[in-house]
Point group: C2
Chain length 143, copies 2
């Protein structure tokens, strides 16, 4: 991993990241995590392998590979959770390590028709629940 | 333009879109608009040429071209407005026509460190102000 900074939650191992998310899989140039807060069922984060702040800083080749990873996950989430849409958000003001929030949305569900709350802090799963959801996403990604 | 639907604000001419944004330029597979509400100075929308709901539905070639347009605009906004970061958001629950919100963020400015408000409805420019901003973005995009 290039450009590692020990202060970044996506660079190397750290407790802050582990409190917020669980690793699902390594993709071609990124890692996909399940966001522990599951108000939006299936919500994930795809984080680029290196410490780069903005998508437009990547080479065209790396950007295309990253967006391929992001779309692969988006498509998988839509299928696994029967989501009516997937919202995508990059908010890199303070965490200057490229990562995309992938937020499945459901007609009649939370914030349908709008944006999404960054941290609703209300819906968490049991360890078995996380294991089941992660297993389903992994299975779909490996197809 | 393929897959046109008359109900979509991004397909063809319509008043709803014109109330919300002003066309800046045609890019390779998209159009970039200035969002009239300018709480986040320089805020734009990049809309794909066809009526497609999700990024993952595009062919790899079209997706790469679209992301190239998006990044070209992001880079231009960062430079023209001296933004400290650019947030990117795709919220396609109801408007099922692929478009990305590009929201420049400023240290100490509105929602620095967080997400962004979809429609703050508080900061609008004069006609001359819009013309100036659009002129600066066009100039940077044409470099």
């Amino acid at each position: 991993m290039k450009n590692v900074t020990t202060e970044c939650i996506y660079c190397g191992q750290n407790g802050t990241r582990d409190n917020l998310m669980i690793e699902i899989a390594q993709l071609s140039v990124s890692t996909v995590y399940l966001f522990k807060e599951q108000t939006y069922m299936g919500r994930c984060i795809v984080a680029y392998k290196d410490h780069v702040k903005d998508l437009h800083e990547l080479s065209v080749e790396d950007r295309n590979a990253f967006m391929d990873d992001v779309c692969r996950v988006g498509k998988a989430l839509e299928k696994v959770f029967n989501a009516q849409s997937i919202n995508y958000g990059i908010f890199n003001d303070l965490i200057a390590h490229l990562h995309v929030h992938l937020v499945p949305k459901y007609q009649g569900g939370p914030n349908w028709g709008g944006t999404f709350d960054m941290a609703p802090k209300r819906t968490f799963l049991s360890p078995a629940g996380y294991e089941r959801v992660i297993g389903e996403i992994r299975a779909e990604l490996s197809k």
